[in-house]
Symmetry: C3
Subunit: 458 residues, 3 copies
């Protein structure tokens, strides 16, 4: 077995080496800083709001997105307490690779100009969005794939996610400032499909006990995650909205949605579970759901109570999904959803898209005023009616689902081939090391490490 481990060790090491060299070469050949320094040639999906702003304004935004990707999503990924520090290391590896790769791929789509890609802070921001989708997907398969497989998953998903984003935002002119579709929905269903393809029945047992542990140990995570989501996500949602005003509405709508969805967790969980106060994990899930919900609709809502109602409803739906839908997903569809990304990203993302469509239909010049041209430039220019825009928004949903599931299936198939390459032993060893606590409960020291692992990503 040692040689197995050695093999797996070297496989990861070698793959990292190859990918990094690849990135360096690609960057050397193609990537340059955009002449005017930042923000660089304006990608359609970022609406170039910042172009006209002092970049001092842009900087904090930029950081918020990083906080998102590294911190909150990291927390999300590290959800299973037992993967504590291990999954942190891996999620940082994935982030480190995916950001470079996404800067290149997205540059190919958006910033390609006579043989060179001109990048700026913009590129980094949209690269972060891609990384977020990747981390969501990994949240669905966490604990059943090796680091090597995760890297390959990132390699493929970044490409497909960018393709989907390009089609939606650039070709179809869909508005999705908070990425309800291109990040949440795509990432969730991509990951679920991969999970389906990699389905291994004999992993069920461990899976279930992880579910059990979740409640006990990840409270710590969850509190941290929730707080950071509250603090930073509203900016995340509104990073790419057009204009200060529109933006402020997106921020406020998101906050109201958060508050309401949190309340509804406290309403529902006592009825679903035998607890007075919900576990923090549930609060975090509700928070995530309330945010994914506001992704597309955030900048379109013109009344605060709309945000309250939306958050209130999604805050009720998400726990119900965990209680009743996840088991079905697992038993009937043979899809294991390690971190429950379907209830926190997939479903709310879809609902957000539908809400966005509805709001697009209701958008009129007098309710929006001058904001109409900020939120729906094509409509304001008269090159497209509100109904067409709404149809586009609606059509984007099935398209995203299609691309996500196809891409997920494809990726899953590729990963399966890889798995064949390494013997199950090595596979387990690898997971073991990765999981850093082979057997739980058996020895206290391991538990000790677990507890440490827990506050890990704080």
């Amino acid at each position: 077995m040692p040689e197995h481990t050695a093999a797996s060790r070297l496989r990861l090491s070698g793959l990292c080496f190859l990918l990094q060299i690849l990135n360096i070469l690609l960057f050397a050949v193609f990537v340059r800083y955009s002449p005017e320094g930042s923000p660089g040639p304006c990608p359609p999906q970022l609406n170039c709001s910042r172009r006209n702003q002092d970049s001092g304004f842009q900087q904090p935004r930029f950081q918020d997105v990083h906080v998102q990707v590294l911190l909150s999503f990291g927390l999300l990924v590290a959800f299973l307490s037992r993967y504590g520090a291990g999954s942190a290391a891996i999620s940082i590896l994935i982030t480190a690779f995916a950001i470079q790769w996404a800067v290149f791929i997205q540059g190919m789509f958006y910033f390609f100009l006579n043989g060179k890609i001109y990048v700026g802070a913009q590129s980094m921001v949209s690269a972060d969005f891609c990384t977020a989708a990747v981390l969501i997907s990994i949240g669905a398969v966490l604990g059943r794939v090796s680091p090597v497989q995760m890297l390959l998953l990132a390699l493929l998903e970044v490409t497909l996610c960018t393709l989907n984003e390009y089609i939606l935002l650039s070709l179809m002119g869909v508005r999705d400032s908070g990425r309800s579709l291109t990040v949440h929905t795509f990432g969730a269903y991509f990951g679920l499909m991969v999970s389906r393809v990699l389905y291994q029945p004999h992993k069920d047992k461990r899976k279930r006990e992880e579910q059990r542990d979740k409640g006990h140990q990840t409270d710590v995570f969850a509190v941290v995650g929730t707080i950071y989501l509250w603090i930073f996500w509203p900016s995340f949602t509104s990073t790419t909205t057009v204009h200060h005003n529109a933006e402020n509405w997106a921020v406020l709508n998101t906050y109201f949605s958060l508050a309401a969805s949190t309340m509804s967790t406290f309403i529902l969980s006592p009825l679903l579970y035998e607890e007075t106060t919900p576990r923090m994990v549930q609060i975090q899930d509700a928070t995530l759901a309330g945010m994914a919900m506001m992704g597309m609709a955030g900048e379109m809502l013109v009344t605060p109570f709309g945000a309250l109602i939306a958050g209130f409803l999604v805050g009720l739906i998400s726990p119900l999904g965990f209680r009743f839908f996840t088991p079905v997903l697992h038993s009937r569809l043979k899809i294991q959803d390690t971190c429950g990304v379907h209830n926190t990203h997939g479903l709310p993302g879809i609902l957000g898209a539908l809400l966005g469509t509805l709001l697009t239909l209701l958008a009129t010049a007098d309710t929006y005023g001058y904001r109409l041209e900020l939120v729906f430039p094509l409509v304001a220019q008269g090159s497209r009616t509100v109904t067409d825009q709404a149809l586009m928004q609606l059509g984007a949903l099935p398209l995203t689902l299609l691309l996500a599931t196809l891409g997920g299936g494809l990726t899953g198939a590729v990963l399966k081939i890889k798995v064949l390459r390494c013997s199950p032993d090595a596979q387990n060893k690898e997971n073991a090391v990765f999981r850093e606590v082979p057997e739980e409960g058996s020895d206290p020291s391991a538990n000790g490490k677990e507890e440490l692992g827990i506050s890990t990503l704080v």
Copy 2:
């Protein structure tokens, strides 16, 4: 007893439901986004500094306040290590409700315009201030009230706190940019009065051992809290100051005050306790005190060493308060102060108000220069002499104390009624669940959970 628990579970769930529906209805009827998007009709107490600024500048401020409310105050509330994750969940519930409620109530006072309330980012900021006061009060009664009672406390305190703020800032034209009076002093004495009314002798024993535990386990909290306070509070203090320059002085004064109060903790604690280095809890208390001290005076101090001296003195007073005053408070006045909010918010708030009054007296056109009209507009306009302004500042103190104690007494009485409604058993059960560790020390697993609970709010 199970039916008791069920009853209490459903009572919390039902109350949340009612309050959320109430909020939604009130918002639907009254609340609209202010036409120009953000910042909305300018409330007197916010001096509309941001109006004239790019809102890119406003955004980070806004977040700092959230960091404050959710993180630092959350930490403060979660002070008793044993309430770890439990109190985190509750403080997030309180925040989620109080913010919505405060947006409405404050809107009624400040933003009400022909039948509608027009809200913007401003409203959210002042709503956060209210929430901060609520969390301070809860810090005083934590562990002796149920979540249901906390919600009712928030319901009442938000209203009274806004009333007090309205009288002080709008009617009397008092300057209190860092909220020494309207948040720190009001919140502390409101909470202490509630604690007095709810006094239960038989809780003393547990109370004391909590005090003992504090030293051991909340160091973790305290470090985190201290660091975040250092990072974010200076902005918090200066969120509502008039002008860039004035603002920068407020920030710097606060930092200097922090540094000095931290030093004086290291001076005093070795003399008061048998330790070389003070426990982090004491450092955090000193930090909080140093900040509450700078609340009102922050923007008025024109020399750095003034901030150093003020911080130095309050850093000496706060530990002395813990050592000698808290016991008196407890034994003589029968007031239990779970998180010691009197020494960290109440007393320093009063001192800050007195310092502010003194500085107002000393304010002259040539020391302040053009800043005079920024800090004391009324004085600069000549519609009020410096002495009148100082009298107003001074008069605001007893008024705040009066409103806080009356309001606290009233609230305490209401909560007592509520308590009667639920049987002591259910009460304890509720607390038990809320506290999430019924008996400590008895079983290691519980302690394990506690330790987890600890890094909870990080």
Copy 3:
């Protein structure tokens, strides 16, 4: 022994008192706010970029630096898990003192104007840089010096660090925006020299076991540290760069360097150690190295792949340094490097300086365009050729090393005298209290506290 403890307690308390009074007096005599409020008279080394910007832009920067100093460096200092909360308290004490002291000392060098020092936010930022250097040095001697000694170390190092900075940036006109030399290199070698002078063979045993523990327990720290470094350091590096554009390049270069150095950790550690995934500590070290590397070169690199290559190489060098150089350092040169600051700050800082020199040589008007006058004003003005500038950059390195080692030797000698003053018993007692866990492994409760201590600085 008790009287020893009492003695040591009172010595720390008394020293704090004296230093604080000293600061107050010095501030009272010399320090005033700069008339125009912020940013104050422009120090050469800060290029006064912010002068022309709205200070809304400045505020978040200012905070980032604080996050750096208090959080990331705090984490760095608290690296040895067993010093958990204890070292947190001390590092906050050091910060509280060093910031005041640095504001005064730096003011004497830069802001002194007819008998008064006029300070603003600028002063606070450069004071933070000094504090960072002090914390790095303490990282090298942590666990072998008492709080009292640390305070004296800070007292001396702040002065010498400012002297070095003044010579480099003001007199020689060296560009070092990210402080590769003046913070990283100076701090590291200063601390290593102090460590050499204070070398105590009999401490080796404990030292080694700490090294062993590191892997187990500081993962928690390390994750947090890494994440915060990723989030905040790019701004830290670019706090003082001249211009939005230049600045954005510095930020992006740093991110790319981070991503690459993280990848190379995953490449190397499986070969050096028997692990598939590197320990988080190693990832943090690589992150730190990647950042120190970009300190000087960050704003000079004009192509992204340059940053990728630099990060990639330094990410390979740092782990090799830990594996092969640290033992040599310890056995041959008798230098104990508690937190391995040589591999994370010293060596990368030197490499960064060399890279910066190389880039300066390559700087031409057409590659830099208008940025030339921003990055190399003297060259752009024609008062200095690129070669002269490069020679200056190169000459700054040995000069910094000389000043650092001389200053470190001097400081070490002074601390030794101090040590003689207090008996070894008191010394140990002090360390014990400071370390807050006299015997490890013996009692579970202590370990419990340790574990708490761990998530301490999160």
